[in-house]
Symmetry: C2
Subunit: 271 residues, 2 copies
């Protein structure tokens, strides 16, 4: 995403870890309490089945390696994907085959003028937005991309998760051929946390030789009321916030917020 | 130490990490609250200055790379060291020069019949003792090695530290050329915790290539009253337990126990 820190010698987020992302995603579910993709997909299906018009076509922005799209393909949806990272999209292409439209683009840009019954954005991608303006423009781009009355579902880390809970903690694991360290660097008085990621992946050369890659991910804390107001301004209605892909309303103890919105019928969103 | 688990392909504790032990020791002080060696040495000097007979000769059992002995040499003591690990002793030799007697031996064996004014055992080495019998025999060996009226000081991790606090936590850091992961595996209902250590050390071959080593350290929880009784039976008197190299008495919140003892004058310890 735009606004990520440029650190000498450290690749863009998700460039280096595209090879291991799927394993990290499983690990994040087990250790961080993220929802697995099948739970996300079941939630989406329930949301969409409650909509007045049926949902068939779905665009996922920030689709990564296509874990979510794969779940939706299995459920019969006509999916498309968008992501900033070429290596991540290459993984998605391998996973999904040649028929699924995949576009490389960086939010808030969503190229083309096609409209979908639903747009989704999962796995805290919007926490990478560096400022309100970029988030506002992203909401507007999504509003143009989803048909009037269509559905938009996204998840974000709760404000307290980014600002407080991560603190300066360290998460690490040694899985044998893959080992990694996540260091969370909270900046007091600032609204973001940097995740310094170090990964060791075993080489083909020998059992004891590993190659390192490092990335920094900068996550921004998003205030619930601000997000709601920006979504409203972009033309979304029926805005609800749930706890981590359940239908329990989000509250002060929520770590993962799942947002469901409907694009209003009345007017075109701002361009 | 005896009783360490033999795991295929995993070296004995301290064999693999002798090269990095000194840096890990600094890290443990910063992140785990262990006392730095200079604080330990200042504590020892105070304990010894309160003894009726002056302390000049000191044996450290489990001396490792000689960090503690170095502090004592600087303060003018005549030091000797004993350790089980050849690689660790090789580091100590480099640090201390050729004049300091260093012996390779595994507790409870302390070879020779020399006696010292004081014996020390630092950095939780006694938590590696697999059972009461080995600890008892170690105390007896130390009692034979310290002169009547001489001083014995050791530290151990408090019972709750091993049994509860470590839990299944993970500690890790990426220091650039060195990265490591400590995984604590607590075994419910058992009196020990396994520390699975994974280390990546940068090769000379390239900036991104690292060599892995892994070790498992099995730490046993030691009950304060049991330790006190075993020390008494070995002939020690004036037994006191302090909080982490301070002169505050240990209490229920103590993580690191520092024990000070005096070898009784009356009788020879059991052999």
């Amino acid at each position: 995403m735009k606004g990520q820190p440029i650190t000498a010698g450290i690749p863009e987020p998700y460039e280096a870890i595209s090879d291991t992302y799927d394993r990290l995603a499983v690990w994040a579910c087990e250790h961080w309490g993220e929802s697995p993709r099948y739970k996300m997909a079941a939630f989406l299906e329930k949301v969409w089945s409650d909509h007045p018009a049926p949902v068939h076509s779905v665009l996922e922005v920030c689709c990564g390696t296509g874990l979510m799209l794969e779940q939706l393909v299995r459920r019969g949806y006509a999916v498309s994907g968008l992501d900033r990272s070429g290596p991540m999209l290459a993984r998605a292409r391998t996973r999904l085959g040649s028929d699924v439209p995949l576009v490389r683009s960086e939010l808030p840009e969503i190229p083309g003028d096609q409209q979908y019954d639903a747009v989704i954005c999962a796995a805290a991608a919007l926490n990478y937005m560096p400022d309100e303006q970029t988030l506002q423009r992203t909401f507007e781009a999504v509003a143009r991309t989803v048909r009037p009355g269509g559905s938009f579902v996204f998840d974000i880390l709760a404000h307290r998760m980014v600002a407080d809970r991560f603190g300066t903690s360290v998460w690490a694991d040694d899985l044998g051929d893959l080992a990694f360290i996540w260091k969370f660097q909270n900046h007091p008085g600032q609204s973001h946390t940097d995740l310094d990621y170090t990964q060791f992946l075993r080489d083909g050369d020998g059992p004891d030789t590993y190659t390192v890659v490092r990335e920094t991910h900068r996550l921004f804390a998003l205030d619930r009321e601000t997000v709601r107001e920006l979504a409203r301004r972009a033309g979304f209605t029926d805005i609800a916030v749930y706890d981590n892909y359940s239908f329990e309303p989000a509250d002060g103890a929520t770590d993962y917020e799942t947002w469901t919105l409907t694009r209003g019928q009345a007017t075109d969103p701002p361009r």
